[in-house]
Amino acid sequence: MRDAFAKTIHEIAQHDARVVLLSGDIGNRMFDAFKSEFPDRFYNCGVAEANMVTLSAGLASCGLLPVCYTIAPFITYRCMEQIRVDLCYQNLPVVLVGTGAGLSYANLGVTHHSLEDVGMLSTLPNMRIVAPCDRKELTTLLKHIYKTPQPTYLRIGKKGEPDLIEQQAVELGEPTVFSSGTDIALFGTGTIMAEVLLAGKQLQQAGRSVEIANIHTLKPLNQTYLQNLMHRCQRIIVVEEHGKTGGLCSAIADVFARSELKGSAPSFKFLSVENAFSFKFTGDQETLRKFHKIDASAIYNAAIET
């Protein structure tokens, strides 16, 4: 996914001279093409993320459209107040790109996990949060983001994620619907959609009518779609590669609690990571997804459980 980001931001920059790319001493070689075409629009800001974020806000205040790129925890947690005061409070059009969403860098340990990033940033006024599930969706959504510039956090994977989008319509603010159904609604966000889709297919093979969607725009959340689904489906399963607090599960629970449902309430299953640091043992993304029960088979089991 990071290569798709590098390619797309390069394309966007070719059409919009205001785009400036900043990176925090990561992405070796990834931006070579961008750098050689726009040497004065690429800045390696070093291992100094907080400075990068506020300096990008300064650029934005002068009419530029900066994008800051580094590993998810370092562009979010590390810069929290810079993001709050300099991006969100002043409402400046900066895109923060966090690579290594969720457990992408599982084996690098807790410092490199991003399981609280959406929770933290979603508390901030003016912040938009977008989590594409694959390269194609990332490309489309990043272009949409640049059509309506505002403070934005784009949460992406690393590399080698499977391509998931085929003919589905992708639109910022609208869930990407992979299949429509009336029995079970299966929602995920971002790169965990690979697991969600696997589980969804199994459920469909078992004869269930399943609505599968990527709620990639986490903030603002599309309330209308979710409320409709709550009326339509009796069972709603929400999956995220994020802690249980402040992410998609929290947001959907919130929508439900505030909605005026007519008729019987659907039953919910929320699959997310417990609110605890995973450091007791190490493992790759697949292993930790299994451990935290957000992998395809855990999703399938949660869906068929009564």
Binding site: N44, V47, A48, L108
Partner: protein, 270 residues
């Protein structure tokens, strides 16, 4: 008993081979970052820190923090050689369900003082420990190993402002100055130079040494000072394996089988 230089050289070569072998076998990156600081860690663990399995949990022990946590292989391989970490645990580093991960973490591993991996935290943590020693009238020392790219972080300089003000002479910062960071030459990414003068201007007692010379390192570490000490250790990233030296591709690359063999010949001579 303090080992002499030739013994240390041999230990360091064995430790380097262990690091390369683990990187190859368990697919662990940041190899060159680890090789860069092996001699510094050997000087600390075999000469000055006085840490062993017996005293590693003693509240009076000297503290060492690997602030450049991505060099975890170097720390663990040295702890293993020192008899503090078991070979069985280290063999499994980074594999599924293993206890040891690719950065030092807080899971009760003897010898790990701080969970690092996000750069720019270690010096402030060490500052807290050094200040605690002062408040509690303890005589232990605190040593923190930073990388040069890490000195981009503002937090490093916040800590640097604090330490001299409070006379924390029990605190030593070592910069593993290998002139590279993740995506380029340190001096090209930011204006790091003059690095020694920066620490000096912040009120530290600064000394520049060859970070691969045990005597120079030991002298610098042992030097008495009324101020916190900053040791700028000039090093070579990937030190010890000719085809990795000063080649930043080995920040991310993992050696293949034939490269491991070549490294073994160079390091162990067999």
């Amino acid at each position: 008993m303090v080992p002499n230089n030739s013994v240390l050289l041999q230990l360091a070569a064995q430790i380097r081979y262990r690091i390369v072998e683990l990187s190859h076998r368990n697919h662990i990156t940041h190899l060159a970052s680890s090789l860069s600081c092996v001699d510094i860690l050997c000087a600390l663990y075999f000469e000055t820190l006085n840490l062993s399995l017996e005293n590693i949990n003693d509240p009076q022990r000297n503290r060492f923090i690997l602030s450049k946590g991505h060099a975890v292989l170097a720390l663990y391989a040295v702890l293993e050689k020192r008899g503090i970490l078991s070979a069985d645990l280290l063999n499994e580093i980074g594999t599924n369900n293993a206890l040891l991960g690719e950065h030092p973490s807080m899971n009760g591993i003897a010898g790990v003082e701080w969970a690092t991996g996000s750069l720019g935290h270690g010096l402030s943590a060490g500052l807290g420990m050094a200040l605690a020693a002062k408040i509690q009238k303890q005589s232990y020392t605190v040593t923190v190993l930073l990388s040069d790219g890490e000195c981009n972080e503002g937090s490093v300089w916040e800590a640097a402002l604090f330490a001299p003000k409070h006379g924390l002479k029990n605190l030593t910062a070592i910069v593993d100055y290998n002139k590279w960071q993740a995506t380029g030459r340190s001096q090209e990414v930011m204006s790091l130079e003059p690095l020694a003068e920066k620490w000096h201007a912040f009120g530290w007692n600064v000394c520049e040494v060859d970070g691969h010379d045990f005597s120079a390192l030991t002298d610098a570490l042992n030097q008495e000072s009324p101020l916190p000490k900053a040791i700028i250790a000039h090093t070579v990233k990937g030190k010890g394996v000719s085809f990795m030296e000063d080649d930043n591709n080995w920040h991310y690359r993992v050696p293949k089988k034939d490269e491991l063999e070549k490294a073994r010949l160079e390091l162990l001579g067999k």
